[in-house]
């Protein structure tokens, strides 16, 4: 299946004084897929992401997003992408509806705040303050704000960190729904089960380089073919399955 490339990362390098955080990273993201950027802390995931998002200048290289170069037309890119930052807050003392309205202004668009909130399951929280939301609600709200400008691509930086299993699963479904509606999604995560469940393709980064890039299944097959065996035989279920079985899939909003 020939797929259209929507993001083309061309050999980007990012240096901070004498430290090189990203050492020549190249990859492509296809239209309509969920692409996962994996790797240990300090691998350069967030830096790479922020360079693509036009939030950080690269030292060398180029990124083409939907035909626009980050060096030449960053504003054009900003208009067609949505971004969720790791641990980002929102303008203080505003309720959710007012925050969405603020983003409407910032993007010069007119999205219906209530519709957007309903889409992420926060229809009844329009007049709540962001601070008072639960962890899962906060993440879903962050995702709602990435959708304000009806983006072609959204970037999610560790969207499920700190969430309980129910909230994580709930967020996974939301991300899949967005992918199915035609939005390309680039995310980072530390959870391999999450990457395996969500991502169509993953790139694994370490020490500023991409060291593997494929679909989760193919990466696993490759490893098995190389003669890898797990020391403990995998059982039919794991502790998370027990937890979900016992506490249910239903979302808890404390």
């Amino acid at each position: 299946m020939a797929r259209k490339t929507i993001i083309e990362v061309k050999n980007i390098i990012k240096k901070y004084n004498d430290f090189t955080a990203v050492k020549g990273v190249s990859f492509q993201v296809y239209e309509g897929e969920i692409f996962g950027l994996l790797g240990p802390n300090g691998a350069g995931k967030t830096t790479t992401l922020e360079i693509i998002e036009t939030l950080r200048d690269e030292t060398e290289g180029d990124v083409i997003v939907k035909g626009f170069s980050i060096n030449k037309e960053p504003e054009k890119i900003k208009e067609i992408i949505g971004i969720q930052l790791q641990e980002s807050g929102f303008y203080p003392n505003l309720n959710l509806k007012q925050i969405i309205e603020l983003f409407n202004g910032l993007y010069d668009v007119t999205s219906d705040p209530l519709k957007l909130l309903k889409k992420v399951g926060l229809g009844d929280k329009a007049t709540s303050v962001y601070k008072k939301l639960s962890g899962g609600q906060k993440q879903r709200f962050s995702i709602a704000t990435t959708l304000v400008n009806k983006p072609l691509i959204i970037f999610l930086d560790e969207p499920t960190t700190g969430l309980d299993p129910q909230a994580r699963r709930n967020l996974w479904e939301l991300v899949k729904e967005l992918r199915d509606s035609g939005i390309t999604i680039v995310l980072t995560t530390h959870y391999m089960d999450e990457a395996q469940y969500l991502c169509d393709r993953v790139g694994i980064m370490d020490e500023g380089k991409i060291i593997a890039l494929d679909t989760p299944d193919k990466l696993i097959d490759k490893l098995i073919k190389s003669g890898f065996k797990k020391e403990i035989k995998v059982r039919e279920a794991n502790l998370e399955d027990v937890f979900i079985k016992l506490t249910g899939r239903e979302l808890r909003d404390e």
Binding site: E79, L85, E101, G105
Partner: protein
């Protein structure tokens, strides 16, 4: 995208959000409006009895000078008798009286000779203000109609320099200093720390417009702050606005000039501070000296001579002085030109320094 992106709309969206946020922030409202009003109320009520100032009228005064009859009617000025000039002079030296006044008349021109003393600086400066406004009024009147003495008399007799006339501009100035410095330093730093600013950078708005939008919201908020404080002073505590609404508008224009300087200082502080914990001490470094020496509660002249130059350097001093002169003496912008010039120099210094130091990221 066929439609052109509007920076103005994006800016106004931030301004609106910032205003909503300010109004919902209890400490912003308390510090910028409720505190100054409480101070004004306390000093306004204290001053309601109407203070008087003791003066000695030099015996060589020409009592037939037209200005003398006006002078005589200024209620707060109480004439005290002494055997001779020397005795009066000693009384002035020791602060028993506030001023010695001599009025002469030559070729139809009146001249008031005023002597005040360091022993009674506050009252002396108030007497000076009263007489200055008397002279201004007489000159204004003679410029237009030659025989306007009687017309002027009433307004002079009613113009009493009250405690509130000194306190209100000072409190307003101090409230603006706080709104400007704390309002911009804290908010900006917290927007940086919580990555709200970074999230804004991901939208097509230009960075400088984010700052302009925040500044605009402060200007709008503080205009209401100033209107409220002046209105409360005027309606409840008999604050003097010489030319009514116009004087109030002039005061507000000057107030906003001061606010622009203070906002710049706030920006500068947010660039110097490493985190939220260091903002408050650094901000206090800028606000406290101005609070104490900037003529908020006492005129700068009451301080020891070596401290006065410091007081005269501070932007708050000049903002307060300009607002007092406009409100009580009906001074024009050109008459408070020196004060405005000092504010302008401060604005240039502050914004040039800030533009070199300002960091967009943490």
């Amino acid at each position: 995208m066929s439609k052109r992106y509007s920076q103005i709309k994006a800016m106004l969206a931030i301004t609106k959000a910032s205003l909503i946020s300010l109004i919902h922030n209890p400490s912003a409202v308390v510090f910028s409006i409720i505190f100054p009003v409480i101070f004004i109320a306390i000093f306004g009520l204290l001053g309601n009895g109407g203070s008087t100032y003791d003066i000695y009228l030099d015996s060589s005064t020409n009592k037939s000078a037209p200005i003398y009859s006006l002078f005589e009617q200024i209620k707060p000025l109480k004439q005290v008798d002494y055997e001779n000039y020397n005795e009066a002079y000693e009384a002035l030296e020791s602060g028993q009286i506030d001023a010695i006044v001599k009025i002469t008349q030559t070729n139809g021109k009146s001249e008031i000779d005023l002597t005040t003393s360091e022993a009674s600086v506050t009252n002396g400066s108030i007497v000076t203000s009263i007489l200055k406004s008397l002279v201004t009024d007489v000159n204004l009147a003679t410029n237009e109609i030659t025989e306007s003495a009687t017309l002027q008399t009433t307004s002079i007799a009613g113009r009493e320099y009250k405690q509130i006339d000194f306190i209100l501009p000072g409190q307003l100035g101090f409230a603006l200093l706080n709104s400007g410095i704390f309002g911009s330093a804290f908010v900006l730093l917290s927007l940086k720390e919580t990555l709200v600013l970074k999230r804004f950078f991901a939208t097509p708005i230009k960075r400088i417009n984010i700052l302009l939008a925040e500044g605009l919201s402060r200007l709008i908020f503080s205009t209401f702050q100033a209107i409220l404080i002046i209105a409360i002073g005027y309606f409840f505590f008999d604050f003097t606005l010489v030319h009514g609404v116009w004087t109030a508008i002039e005061m507000i224009i000057i107030a906003m000039a001061g606010l622009i300087v203070f906002l710049g200082m706030g920006l500068m502080i947010s660039s110097i501070s490493r985190d939220e914990n260091s903002v408050a001490p650094i901000a206090n470094l800028f606000t406290l000296p101005q609070f104490l020496l900037g003529g908020v509660f006492f005129p700068v002249d009451v301080f020891p001579t070596w401290l006065q130059p410091i007081g005269h350097l501070m932007p708050l001093t000049h903002l307060n002085e300009a607002m007092r002169k406009i409100a009580f003496e009906g001074a024009s912008f050109s008459e408070v030109g020196t004060h405005l010039l000092v504010l302008l120099i401060w604005a240039i210094v502050v914004y040039v320094v800030t533009s070199r130091m300002f960091k967009w990221d943490k």
